[in-house]
Amino acid sequence: MRFLHLLAAEDPSQTHHWLLPETAEIIYGGIAALIIFAALYKFALPAATKALAARTERIQKELDNAANTRSAAEAEASNIRKAVGDIASERVRLLAEADQQAATVLSEGRARITAEVADLEAKAEADIAASRSRSSDELRAQIGQIASVAAQNAVSAALNDGTKQELIESFISSVGGAR
């Protein structure tokens, strides 16, 4: 509104152009503008460039760090995946090995038990045979003992003085006729 009032207050008879400033004003204004631009170029531009470069470097560094972190994470993930794979294969191997060992132990155990049973059977049969033989021997020995006692008693009863003299005479005759 104020600007419109100023425009309305201008005097059309004046030589000064309503739009363009005075020539001197243009010169002074131009020089002032140049000085400001030079100052900006001289002082503000390096600082801004430096700040920009620093910011770029920081961002790049962050990007690099992020890349490194990602690479490490991927490597870790790879290791984990590999470890998981190794664990799975180890588990399979261990299970297979355990199965094999179990089968071996079972087989050996069966063979051992079979052998032990055979040994026990053989031993039992030998014991039975030995016991039978021992009983038979003991019985035979008892019979022999009883028979020998009976024979001794019978001989002693039969050996009267006459028989003893006959035996002596028989001995003398047989020894004397031996040569």
Binding site: I143, S148, A151, L159, L167, S170, F171, V175, G176, A178
Partner: protein
């Protein structure tokens, strides 16, 4: 006692009997004494017991030899008094062997369940001489464990015709 000591005692006893001129009679009497000692455990223990006074053992010897000759009694007393009662039988056996060898005869020990008559002894000695080809000095030992028959030992040769041995063989077979 060692064999050499037994031999020494036997030689001494035989020499004494020879010097006395009674070797033949003494060895017969000594043989009877030896068999009596051998067959009687308590008698052997008494004669060997050093704790029994020598006088008492001498008395036992005198009772043992009884009617034997004085030389025999003294010889047995000598052995007992020397503390060699344990080896009396072995010493006497050596004396008998020496006496037999002096007459070029071999000791023929015959074990019988019963005593043999003089005739049987004479015929048995002749039979053994024919069988072994040696002149024998017959010594008869009455041993009831023989049961019947005879066992004759001449040197290393044994002629066994005893019932005891046959019974043992039967027992063994049974």
């Amino acid at each position: 006692m060692s064999e050499a000591r037994i031999e020494a005692y036997a030689r001494a006893l035989a020499d004494i009997a020879t010097a006395e001129g009674t070797l033949d009679a003494v060895e017969k009497e000594l043989y009877v004494v030896a068999r009596a000692v051998e067959s009687n455990e308590s008698l052997r223990a008494t004669l060997s017991d050093e704790s029994i006074p020598a006088v008492r053992r001498q008395a036992v010897v005198e009772a043992l030899v009884g009617s034997a000759s004085n030389t025999t009694a003294q010889l047995v007393g000598l052995v007992i008094g020397s503390g060699r009662g344990r080896d009396l039988a072995a010493i006497i056996d050596k004396v008998v062997k020496r006496a037999s060898n002096a007459q070029n005869r071999e000791v023929a020990e015959v074990r019988s369940a019963v005593a043999l008559s003089a005739d049987q002894q004479s015929r048995l000695a002749a039979a053994l001489e024919r069988a072994t080809g040696k002149s024998v000095n017959l010594k008869v030992v009455v041993d009831p464990s023989v049961l019947g028959g005879l066992i004759a030992t001449v040197g290393d040769e044994v002629i066994d015709g005893s019932v005891r041995t046959r019974l043992d063989q039967v027992k063994s077979r049974l």
